[in-house]
């Protein structure tokens, strides 16, 4: 039972990180109709900047600058590449983002090399015990921060002018333009938010129990894609549920791996994709996605 609760707590915490990344993925899709594969390298960029800047300027300023840098990078990708290809087929745009992702990723890996950069989280790598259940402090703080961000995000999405403009242009871009909504601005803002969310997720994903920033952080981000897709590519609520589902599945598969030995070791790493395929076989547009995703 203790093990179950521990895995549950860790799964939720991991899922909250995935949800942050998946939310970015979903709002980019809603605002600019791009299936963006750049989230992985943006995440790594955030982690790398925070790790490199922590020493010279201190941890908290580094976090701030890291988040801003990642948001700026996302903004530049939107302005310099995506915005210029407005109206291009969805497939071409997706492949363009893969290209951008590879370029950014290659440069980051070259800089990181074979090192594992350390992010000096002030909360260190200690664990706390809640009753019988142990969880790393890093994961606990991550869950809290992600929870707050997710609430703020959903409130803004529902009530702010940005949210209304965003939902209106996602539903019918031409009509939104006729109402004076600047589609380019809505899309740029979505990329900025997605970049910032990825950087926040990065901050915690490279902390305990993960050893630090290495190229492997990139593959962590890749698991947020199944989260977004199984939730429904155009559903923010779906991103949240999908993220939690993937986090829990991964946590349990890793935790109970001894009982699951017939599936082989390391099953936890592939379980996100297994869950995604299983969900999509039953519901091809994801749990909460709109059936009709092709727009005229």
């Amino acid at each position: 039972m203790t093990q179950f609760l521990s895995l549950l707590l860790n799964g939720i915490s991991l899922g909250a990180m995935y949800a942050l990344i998946a939310l970015g993925f979903v709002i980019i899709f809603k605002a600019s109709e791009v299936v963006s594969f750049t989230q992985g390298s943006l995440l790594l960029l955030g982690a790398y900047s925070i790790a490199r800047l922590s020493e010279p300027i201190g941890f908290y300023p580094a976090v701030l600058v890291g988040i801003l840098l990642t948001a700026l990078a996302a903004f530049l990708i939107e302005r310099l590449v995506i915005n210029r290809l407005r109206g291009a087929p969805v497939i071409s745009l997706a492949i363009v983002t893969i290209g951008v992702d590879i370029i950014l990723l290659t440069e980051l890996i070259r800089r990181i090399g074979s090192d594992i950069l350390n992010v000096p989280h002030p909360w260190g790598s200690e664990s706390v015990r809640i009753g019988e259940v142990g969880i790393s402090q890093n994961r606990l703080i991550a869950t809290g921060v992600a929870g707050v961000l997710i609430i703020v995000f959903f409130a803004a999405f529902k009530y702010s002018s940005w949210g209304v403009a965003m939902r209106a242009s996602a539903e019918d871009g031409e009509t939104a333009a006729l109402m004076g909504i600047r589609l380019g601005r809505v899309s740029a803002l979505a990329w900025i938010v997605a970049g910032a969310l990825a950087a926040v997720a990065a901050l915690f994903l490279v902390g305990a129990p993960t050893p630090g920033v290495s190229a492997a952080a990139y593959t962590v981000a890749l698991r947020a894609f199944p989260a977004a897709i199984l939730g429904g590519l155009d559903s923010t609520g779906g991103a949240l549920v999908g993220g939690l589902l993937i986090g829990l599945a991964e946590s349990f598969a890793a935790g109970y791996q001894d009982q699951l030995l017939f599936l082989g070791r390391g099953f936890g790493d592939v379980v996100p994709y297994v869950v995604m395929i299983a969900v999509l076989l039953v519901r091809p547009s994801g749990l909460f996605g709109t059936k009709e995703l092709t727009r005229v």
Binding site: S161, V164, R167, A168, E171, L178, M179, G180, R182
Partner: protein, 263 residues
Amino acid sequence: MLSVDALHVTYGGAVQALRGISLEIPDGKVVAVLGSNGAGKSTLLRTLSGTLRLHRGRIDSGSVRYGDVSLGGRDAAQTVRMGLVQVPEGRRIFGRLTVEENLRAGGMGNRDKAAKARARDRVYEMFPVLKERAGQRGLLLSGGEQQMLAIGRALMASPKLLLLDEPSLGLAPRIIGQIGEVIAEINRQGTSVLLVEQNATMALGVADLAYVLDVGEVSLSGSAAELARTDEVQRLYLGHDSDEPAAAEPLPGTRKTLSRWTA
């Protein structure tokens, strides 16, 4: 005043949709544009509202001026800020947004908060049903209510010139009558209106001036009342027989049979 002069528009560099249209919308007037499918009515509106580029259309020659400012090359958001707001064909309500959020979306181009509040009061006064349903999703409204919402949404931007694209489309005759009254009321409150319609009875009923488009050209123009009396409009748009009741087959010399292929 909005003036269009010898406007030529093509789509994809090949399909000519407008071939030298000239027309004027004087301030404070209601101007109707009639024409069958493919006459170029929607293209004209897209040119005015700055959405032509979204449809891969291009102005080849001619000019569109609003007051002293040329509209060519401006995007939709800039056009809205100049006071030209279009109600799209088929209403295009944001179905997943509530009625109130639809109105908020309509006011996005309006930075002046006080003007927005006034616009909202005016919309709710003109369409009390929208106030009753403020919290409902747009797609739950009836067709007539959706058209009211589409018009109200456009009014949120406090337009000086309202462009209406077939507001009567798919609505019951009684509702069409109400739409006509609404247009007259909006005009009385000081907004000029460009009304693009296939329903000539309603359009000529509220308009001061009217133009008839045919395959990308203006074929008739004049005051709405005069136009309603001409044989051609009577026969083609108002469904009355002309003075020769025997003429059941299409008249020679008209190009109506071809018009639907052009856009």
